[in-house]
Symmetry: C2
Subunit: 301 residues, 2 copies
Amino acid sequence: MAGLESWHDGAAKAAIVDFVGRAVRDVAPQERVAVFDNDGTLWCEKPAYIQLDFLVRRLAEQVAADPTLTDNPAYRAAAAGDLAWFGDAVTQHYNGDDSALKVLAGAVLSAYAGLTVEEHAERVNAFFADATHPTLGVPYTACGYRPMVELLQYLEAHGFTNYIASGGGRDFMRPITTQMYGVPPERVIGSSVGLDFVDGNLKTTSTPEFLNDGPVKAVRIWGRVGRRPIFAAGNSNGDIAMMEYATAAPNPSLALLVRHDDGEREFDYVAGAEKSLQLAEANGWTVASMRNDWTTVFDGR
Amino acid sequence: MAGLESWHDGAAKAAIVDFVGRAVRDVAPQERVAVFDNDGTLWCEKPAYIQLDFLVRRLAEQVAADPTLTDNPAYRAAAAGDLAWFGDAVTQHYNGDDSALKVLAGAVLSAYAGLTVEEHAERVNAFFADATHPTLGVPYTACGYRPMVELLQYLEAHGFTNYIASGGGRDFMRPITTQMYGVPPERVIGSSVGLDFVDGNLKTTSTPEFLNDGPVKAVRIWGRVGRRPIFAAGNSNGDIAMMEYATAAPNPSLALLVRHDDGEREFDYVAGAEKSLQLAEANGWTVASMRNDWTTVFDGR
């Protein structure tokens, strides 16, 4: 049976093993539903969301084909390879200034508009076949956290069904989640633009359909699964609602919060996770410290 | 292996058997996705949608508790047990007059508002434990079509994964689809009101989130599954898009249209299915005639 080899013996591992034991004893297999955030929980989200690289490459491609787009600061930043501009737009948003984010959103939403979902998947596959992480220097598909992949396998070995519930793009994740996490497309919940049905095919639009973050994660999990999860793992304020959702029922349950406190092996940051860390303490959620609980962060290194 | 015992040997059965043989040969198991409409395809939808009974009972309960509601014709009809009023509202809608439907929609959307999804499921279970079909005189859970249940089992036995994609309420169907069809909640796609996340629980609102009909079925199937189905079964114009979606790709595929032409054993009607029957002929979709293709309509009778 799959173990948790990359977890130090400690409070986090003990809480997981204890919870799984109670779930196996008290919860029917079909009700053993586990949900995982992706960015920062299953794979690395720094220095920028991996999906942002996918989007910025497309903006650079578009502005190369149509130089008039440089009038728009998002395309200009993309053409210049200025990823910091995009990160700043998100930071400004968290500080209450949405002006740059609005410029960015328009470009991002239209970046892949008009493709069939199959064509979009081909672009995603081409991206992952080619792109490498800017500081780790390995393919993005090697940027999953080994202890979390072991946890996915450990839960599955104990009759759980794992879902991903991420703020990232549903159709951006689907092509690689089977390979990276053993989670097939039908168990990937994420954000999406609207789709149009045209001549027997589904095509992406530039209209947002929903942003799968915060309380929307709980709504989308129910919409997809029709069961309340008993396990939820996240790493940020956007995961609070699904962690509350998983732990509000009388069944055995566990909420696991990944803490990014390992500047040597990964990154050290709390921005965007402040409230979730407070609630973890207040509610007794389990915190997995990258530095203290994980013997290895990434597979093979 | 499960067979198709309630199907006469004929063109429809032959087309199914031939298709399944080609799918098993040419399509990887994870891509063998089948989608089924529910009302009129898996269970009886006449003389009225089963869910309408569930809603009208609730309206009658509400007007009994608050007699001022009789000012509203929908509650008045519910109190009087006048199901025909509701049927007429739908017919008028199809004839271009939405006035009664709008009155009806407001009442229907608010009928179960404010419940947690678990409380709503309890109401659904209580309804199915109690209610019987008005003309067939059996519990609604005995109103599934035996040949279609055999088809679900036949596909599953050949490595298919079955989903329901219905215009009916997602959370109205979920409590009984495992028992009736062997389809668990996570594979039920249907219409829904919006849900609010409140104190760790999900509660129904009176705001429609989406109506899972027509092209929306194709969008929702992709959203849920992340794969294009290769088999789609329906019985009405609302199923055209998903049948086109399933058959537009190069893989072996089958679209099956149930024709209600058996006034003795079930009902004989084409209203709402006119265009789908035309397209079935034009596109070579398989038509299953209740009268000619099914040896038995309902289990045990």
